[in-house]
Symmetry: C2
Subunit: 602 residues, 2 copies
């Protein structure tokens, strides 16, 4: 389209996963000493993990990333009930399955590699950075595996888990209906018992990611529906497994089930990921777990999915950053403001371009650090030796999950938007590729529960319910890092000061909610998103501060590297430019309730 000119266009195919940063986080932010001491991970060492990450990085960079822009351009195509994936997707998916990448973090009992979440998180991020539309298929399959592990019968596990774990079959989550988005109480789809123990599922499900496609041999739909005598509301929802193709006792594929894709959506972004409207008409379904307990199973699956969506945010931020950085090093424009030369220089020399890039990098690294820290707690929540340790780790990881989902996805939009800005006019031209990240990122704070839903979860179930115990336990841990920083060099001390201010703001807000939310929930929940953003910012900034200390320790033991020096610089930038937002959020919450309540949108 853009002819006759030598204007540089971004290279949309390039992506190199930040494996060094990922390995650094696993080493220093996940409590790796405890995780690697768990019997499950006996013999797993950091060198092996590094090798896996490097190999996956090559696969993501060489096979998956180059399909990101072309996939966006072509989009998934619907025709008479079938969906055709963009060129190269089916072949790349076959390689993905062949190489066993779907199985990384799933149990060895069903053919998985049983790696900890701490490692799986890095893998999820890099696949999403390479190609978010592609990565959504494995992401949903991960969720289906979780749900079956949690609530499936032994027979169901035997029939489905091996093929899901390999990626030969893919999974979907069927929650939303036209009248039931965030509010699952409004689900209307019906499940009528058949004589053979199966159910006849009927209803319309919308926004079903990879609800129909041609990459996997079979699709395992997990579907929320109501049995005839189910109670109203969320207590009457059951979870059903509805395969696209029926599976016989030998595991072979049989007839097509009565579920049809009637259309796919025309979306702002992730065009290569088909978002289906599925029509179930007496489709054969199998009850998963107990009747009317579907919501709790779905929540299990959603918690994993929410965390993974947060990683999508980190991934897209990283990708947008890399692309903007490459452009800024290439594009020559204007002499520098300091007058050191009158010649035009590459724009990376211009202060505001540096500021934009610094913010992008700090948010990407900060989000990655938050996600790594959370993954560590997830591993301990599942496998720590004592029930008490598991419970504590579980409370913390559940507190952190809405932060990963909410903060990292809101940041992704911010970063992708900055990426467009760095490109100037070229950023607005689709062929450059920066705009795709801005479009793709916009879904992240919406699906798997909007930021407000995450924030309501954070304030209600995660903060008020335990009387602030978990929130204040985290604050106490942060104070301990502050003490370490205070004992450090001037840079550590200055980061410690910003961390301390942000942590105090967090404590003030928690105390405020504990004192007022019960009496005036409308006011408190009006501050829930600012609270989530404050907490996400704080915990990310805290992890960056921990990373700074770890980097300084390594350097003082003689291991100085450019990576470690850059980590210190980024942590410092994070503290001075991003952590400082915490005070603003505090003011909005503690001083802004009345003005929000006073508004009348009549």
């Amino acid at each position: 389209m853009y002819g006759a000119t030598q204007m540089p266009i971004g290279d949309t195919t390039m992506f190199t996963a930040p494996t060094q940063d990922m390995l650094f986080n696993i080493t220093h932010l996940t409590q790796w000493d405890k995780i690697s001491a768990l019997p499950q991970y006996d013999g797993l060492d950091l060198d092996d993990i590094g090798a896996v990450l490097e190999e996956y990085s090559r696969f993501c960079g060489e096979i998956i990333a180059p399909l990101n822009a072309s996939g966006d351009q072509t989009g998934a195509q619907y025709n008479a009930g079938r969906v055709t994936m963009p060129g190269g997707f089916t072949e790349a998916y076959a390689q993905f399955v062949e190489m066993g990448w779907q199985s990384l973090q799933h149990p060895e009992a069903f053919g998985g590699q049983g790696l900890p979440r701490s490692v799986g998180a890095a893998a999820t991020e890099m696949l999403n950075a390479a190609n978010m539309s592609f990565a959504l298929c494995p992401l949903l399959t991960d969720g289906a595996i979780e749900a079956l592990l949690t609530a499936g019968s032994d027979a169901q596990k035997q029939t489905y888990l091996a093929n899901l774990t390999s990626g030969k079959w893919s999974g979907t989550m069927n929650l939303t209906e036209p009248q039931a988005g965030s509010d699952l109480a409004l689900v209307k789809s019906k499940a009528v018992p058949n004589d053979d123990g199966t159910y006849a599922i009927t209803g319309t499900k919308i926004f079903i990611t990879y609800g129909e496609h041609d990459m996997s041999e079979n699709t395992v739909h997990l579907v929320l529906a109501r049995t005839p005598d189910a109670p109203a509301g969320v207590k009457g929802i059951s979870l059903f497994l509805v395969p696209k193709f029926m599976v016989d006792e030998s595991g072979a594929l049989g007839d097509r089930n009565a579920v049809q894709c009637v259309s796919i959506e025309h979306k702002l972004g992730i065009s290569a990921s088909p978002t289906a409207v599925l029509q179930f008409e007496n489709a054969t379904g199998f009850l998963i777990g107990d009747e009317n307990a579907g919501l709790s199973y779905m929540f299990e699956m959603m918690n994993s999915a929410r965390y993974a969506v947060g990683l999508q945010g980190v991934g897209i931020a990283e990708r947008a950053f890399q692309q903007a950085l490459a452009f800024a090093k290439d594009r020559v424009q204007s002499a520098p403001v300091d007058g050191s030369t009158r010649e035009a220089v590459t724009i990376i020399h211009h202060p505001d371009v540096r500021r934009l890039l610094a913010r992008m990098q700090a948010l990407a690294e900060g989000g990655r650090a938050l996600a790594a820290f959370t993954a560590g707690w997830q591993d301990l929540a599942r496998h720590a030796a004592s029930e008490g340790d598991r419970a504590e780790a579980s409370a913390i990881s559940e507190f952190l999950t809405p932060l990963v989902k909410g903060y990292c996805t809101e940041s992704a939009i911010d970063v992708a938007s900055a990426g467009v800005q760095v490109h100037g006019g070229m950023g607005f031209i689709e062929e450059t590729g920066a705009a795709q990240h801005y479009r793709d990122a916009r879904i992240l704070p919406i699906y798997e529960g909007t930021t407000a839903i995450q924030a309501n979860d954070l304030i209600g179930r995660k903060t008020l319910r335990d009387g602030g115990r978990t929130a204040l336990a985290l604050a106490a841990m942060i104070k301990s890092t502050e003490a370490d920083l205070a004992a450090g060099d001037p840079i550590a001390q200055s980061v410690g000061k910003q961390l301390s201010t942000a942590r105090a703001a967090f404590e003030t807000v928690v105390a405020h909610f504990l004192a007022t939310a019960k009496q005036n929930p409308g006011a408190a929940y009006g501050g829930s998103v600012p609270y989530l953003m404050l907490a996400g910012n704080l915990v990310s900034g805290w992890q960056m501060a921990r990373a700074l200390l770890a980097a300084q320790t390594e350097i003082s033991s003689g291991n100085s590297t450019p990576f470690l020096k850059a980590k210190i610089a980024t942590a410092r930038f994070y503290a001075d430019h991003i952590l400082v937002e915490a005070e603003t959020q505090k003011h909005r919450i503690t001083g802004g309730e009345d003005s929000l309540l006073a508004l009348d949108f009549a």
Copy 2:
């Protein structure tokens, strides 16, 4: 695309211009007593202005707004050098011309209506809110008129201005070349004198808005190029008028000039606005003003255009807000958090939806107030009786222009993004229409000078050059409003407190730059965008505070209306939720320089 379901889709055709707010701003924020006392505006009263705005509002709402979504969907179409506008655009433009809307703020000498900028600003905003792609054509024509008024010869004015003022002909700005975006020193296009006093223009210009289209009978291209012996850099650039069709002495159209559209861009947004690559091959051009003085004329034109782009930001924020509000009043989902009922309610009852809408509204109204205040100073700068008054008004309006451009356009992205969020999953579906605003808005902080360029202008030419005089004069005016607020009721006092904190942050930052920028420009300019955002936020919040005082005065004189009550509530929300960001910006600037400089993107 979205079949078989009853999910509400936003009505993309609806838009009602906020004429009440616009008239309120003209009355209370522009220094209307002084403007209406100018001899130029003798006899112009607020009733007449209200009538004009109402009529234009009907035109924008009924004729232009319904073409916004359809225009986006079809886009401008290129075929063999010609561009076809989307369905309905050409007819709507004919009506626009027929009704004389192009002429509103242009001089009566050339058929204009001679209305002040204070009124023209409201008109520009509403056309852009109705349809930004459409409105870009008149916006560029406005710029061409400005340039000819500033520097055109009498003969050029006679030949071109009447048809530009009527809108029968349209105008363009041809600055950018592949190697010369922000940096016009790099312009290479050539202008070789012909024997008859004209010039032969040769070169490639890119990103030319409405560079080719079929709405107007002729297009007047204003083109930057270099004469053969011109000095290098920006001091060797001249401005040429290059008509698409030559105009004979009788004013009739003659031959096609040698300028061709060789392609149009495939863009993230404003798809209905053709962004052309123009090839000039010995096209006939007429020198405007003096040789080598082109940049200063272009800056004149750009200042108007930059201000107008700020209004585009306000317009798109208003449109996105109206659409999100309508959706939130319609969409039923989830029971309220206060437990007042277990039934699902319209989502406008959910606290975070209210918070999102409140922020959208406050940013739209705040931006409008900032723009109105600025327009008032523009009118005084042009027409105040004494040279001293004109100079003072000019200094202030020039200080404010980068704030209008930078702050209102960055806010537009924020607001459009929040608009998508209010719609939940539906916001990501293109047919809903919320996504278009998010796409369209993204160009605003880029074209006519990126936010960084505005910020460099603000810190360099507008703040440091006069030793902070204008900046501190504004701070003194703000203090006077603070005193009025302090003498008011508790709401006024509380707004005054936030205003005072933000103003003090601004003063601190100005003092910081005055003390350090000369020694360390790289550090200072790294804080230029935070400074612009702080200043834009402050002046918007100040205008909201002035609006609050005016509303309270009207109410206490017995004129209580829902509009006035809402204005008070919005001003209060602005203070408690948005003005509070000023402190964060201050910290970034005064405490964040070292950490930005320490980063190495090698």
